[in-house]
Amino acid sequence: MYRVGIDVGGTNTDAVVLQGKTVLAGVKASTTEDVTSGVIEALEKVIEASGIDRQRIGAVMIGTTHFTNAVIERRHMEEVAAIRLGLPSGAGLPPMVDWPDDVREIVGNHGYQVRGGYEFDGREISPLDEDEIVRIAGDIRAKGLKAAAVTCVFSGINDAMEQRTKEILQQHCPGLPVVMSKDIGRHGLLARESAAIMNASLLSLADRTVAAFGKALETAGITAPFYITQNDGTLMAADVVRGFPVLTFASGPTNSMRGAAFLTGIKDAVVVDVGGTTSDVGSLSHGFPRQASTTVDIGGVRTNFRMPDVFSIGLGGGSLVVETDKGVTIGPKSVGYRVRQDAICFGGKTLTATDIAVASGKADMGDAGLLAGLDPSLVEAAAKKIDAMLEACVERSRISSTPVPVIAVGGGSILMPDKIGDLDVIRPDNFAVANAVGAAIAQISGETDRVFSLIDGRTRESALAEAEAEAREKAIAAGALAETLEVIEREDTPLAYLPGNATRIHVKVVGEMGGHGG
């Protein structure tokens, strides 16, 4: 059986076919507005290039930066109601208080604080103010908001108020998608709330995108199941993504780092993935992306997902190069997937970072002749600026002053110089499709998250072991190889308000997908 990995970026849609540990073929196509035709093109190209029989494709793994890019570029995000249950606590720090102003404006800044919430021991801070929820429902209808996010203080201990709020909202606004924070994040109100709000604002985009993927595979006559990669480098069923697009947020960097490690065999390095719109920089340590220890910024918004520690900047192959009276600026606006039409070297009218790379002799693509009219001092200034931006983010991601190689991957990595400061830059074979390779080798996970009663001789240790065994079973049933399984999350929260010494246990294990042979 073959595995197909597809990476749908802002600019390019890449596809690879893997047989065991061998990359049979890797191709690039342009991402299209409808997503579907780009995926079909990439699939057809890679099937042709590898010469495989499409019936023997065992699984298709899709990684996408669509949702992250939406937040970074402040596009396709819809206005949502951000409802917090917890008054009179926390009144001074309203929802989205620590967001950058522009993102807060884009999601409409419809923050509501309502009486409700729980204490740590399950008692109510205040009874839920249901009349206020009804009033907010009216507001949602009047403003025409497309979704709501509900975050209750201590919803990890008791989710009843979030459930009830969802019920009331949907009674008064039939069909309104309501995201409950308990499904998205962990302990820590602000970060969990922010993730729930971003998730709600991306639901329509998620719906369209997943539908487009399904249609593409169907059109290409592929019947194998398809998965989408999430933050921790594991796969989730495509339908789950419709409800939880934020869980894919860091999958792009995870895939490119895992892909870079797979392609080079290097275990410690800084990985720079230059796409069409953004560059992601992270560190590989012992072959795995270094995890952020606490919180991670997405487009300036603080979240507490388990994610690789990646720094993103708005610099990619399609970034606009603009001369201002204060000097030249690069990005964050980008022509994205239209670079092959809009960039000057491809006959377009927009000056992009790719044009600068071609004009300064770093890259050979399009028609360099079309750039003859560019002011050489502008080219030089822009090239310098691009180098400085890349160097700054490599410096930021570097974890020690010991020199490690920089692995350059991604279609836009033509922008990378041969050296960054004192560090050598390595470009592996198939560097341009490292993301798709990372998606193709994504891992399978199994998860347990439920309440255990520590009575009748069951101890915390035996309950944790039980939970781990369950998670392992689920992972193996989903296709993971037992001997590769590894625990990545293990958390227990005693639920003081429940009788029977109840504790909530969350264990997640991951492992390699089986069936590498064939």
């Binding site: 606590s89 801070i125 302990h187």
Partner: protein
């Protein structure tokens, strides 16, 4: 002489305070957001040198009381800290000259700043612990045997409590903790008022400056790609105890405290060993392969190996790469009276205090 505390010092103060919190005191992030909002409204904090206090000046000692885990969900509001001070002023019938934090460790480092900004009163460059501790009797004022009453406590629901008298520091702790637990394990308090003389004699001095400079050293080391853990050790004259990966965390929120332990599996030079850190809001004792190797009042800090940032007892989780370091305690805490108040026996460990700093 008052000195304005500039906005750009907020971040270094929070970073340094979080390290000096020795795992407790709560992550200062929420307090930082609150303080930034007050600065954005145009409010400012002035710092006063403890030695500039007149002997008969009255100083309010503020703190947010409770379990740090709770503070991450039930976000604090500076209104309540200010209210606790006002309740105390009403009770005493006289105004405070200045405000100080009971502890420089964790989010309470900023409590005096929040109350000070709200009430336009200067903040004293001192605290009563030089770190963070979970209980009222674990302060330099308690070690100095100063009076422990009255105390005011304010919650989010308009409940206001004044403990007018208590038989001892321990009784004050028991009574106020009971009330705190009842209102949700988080409350704003104004502890027994201190005279300028008492602050000069028994306060731990210049800890606002110490936390700010420690934080700045870490932030600058990160920017230079130097090892920020080493920056902490160098700045404080500390010792590295262990490096590894978190493999287990056991937590229990009981009696208004977060108790438990975290287990670290060694890497590099510590490969093959395990370290267990026992905590009661703060890291209290470090056991290496079951043997106690470091303990309170030495400051035990769990740091992110890469960023050098502190990891709290409420945010430590499976898989984190960490370094355990010990920093020297304020001198007062290592005196016999200090060890009686905050040594390992005060936390229920029948161990003789041995400092890692001979």
């Amino acid at each position: 002489m008052l000195q304005e505390f500039p906005e750009e010092n907020i971040e270094p103060l929070a970073t340094g305070a979080w390290i000096l919190g020795t795992g407790g005191g709560g992550n200062p992030y929420i307090s930082t957001l609150n303080l930034r909002r007050l600065y954005a409204e145009g409010r400012r904090v002035q710092i006063i040198d403890p030695m500039d206090l007149a002997d008969d000046d009255m100083v309010a000692v503020v703190s947010k009381m409770g379990a740090p885990l709770v503070g991450q969900e039930r976000l604090s509001d500076p209104v309540h800290l200010a209210r606790a001070v006002e309740v105390m002023e009403d009770y005493l019938g006289k105004p405070f000259r200045a405000i100080m934090s009971v502890e420089i460790g964790g989010s309470n480092a900023l409590s005096s700043f929040l109350a000070g900004a709200m009430l336009d009163r200067p903040v004293v460059n001192a605290d009563a612990m030089g770190r963070a501790y979970p209980e009222a009797q674990m302060t330099s004022f308690a070690i100095g045997n100063l009076p422990m009453f009255p105390l005011s406590l304010v919650d989010i629901r308009d409940n206001e409590v004044i403990v007018t008298r208590a038989a001892s520091w321990k009784w004050m702790e028991r009574i106020s903790r009971k009330v705190c637990t009842e209102v949700g394990s988080t409350a704003a308090t104004c502890k027994a008022p201190r005279s300028g003389r008492e602050v000069k004699d028994w306060g731990i001095h210049y800890t606002v400056t110490k936390a700010t400079e420690l934080g700045r050293a870490v932030i600058e080391a990160r920017a230079r790609h130097d090892d920020p853990v080493k920056a902490v050790l160098d700045h404080e004259g500390g010792k590295q105890l262990f490096r590894g990966k978190i493999v287990d965390v056991v937590r229990e929120t009981t009696g208004g405290f977060l108790r438990g332990k975290t287990v670290i599996e060694g890497i590099d030079a510590d490969k093959g060993s395990r370290m267990e850190l026992a905590f009661q809001n703060e890291w209290a004792v470090a056991f290496r392969d079951s043997q106690p190797v470091a303990m309170t009042p030495d400051l035990l800090c769990l740091l992110d190996t890469v960023s050098g940032g502190a990891i709290g007892t409420e945010s430590v989780r499976y898989g984190q790469r960490v370094t355990v370091v010990a920093l020297p305690a304020p001198e007062l805490l290592t005196t016999p009276a200090g060890i009686a108040a905050v040594g390992p026996r005060a936390f229920g460990y029948d161990i003789e205090f041995t400092s890692v700093f001979p």
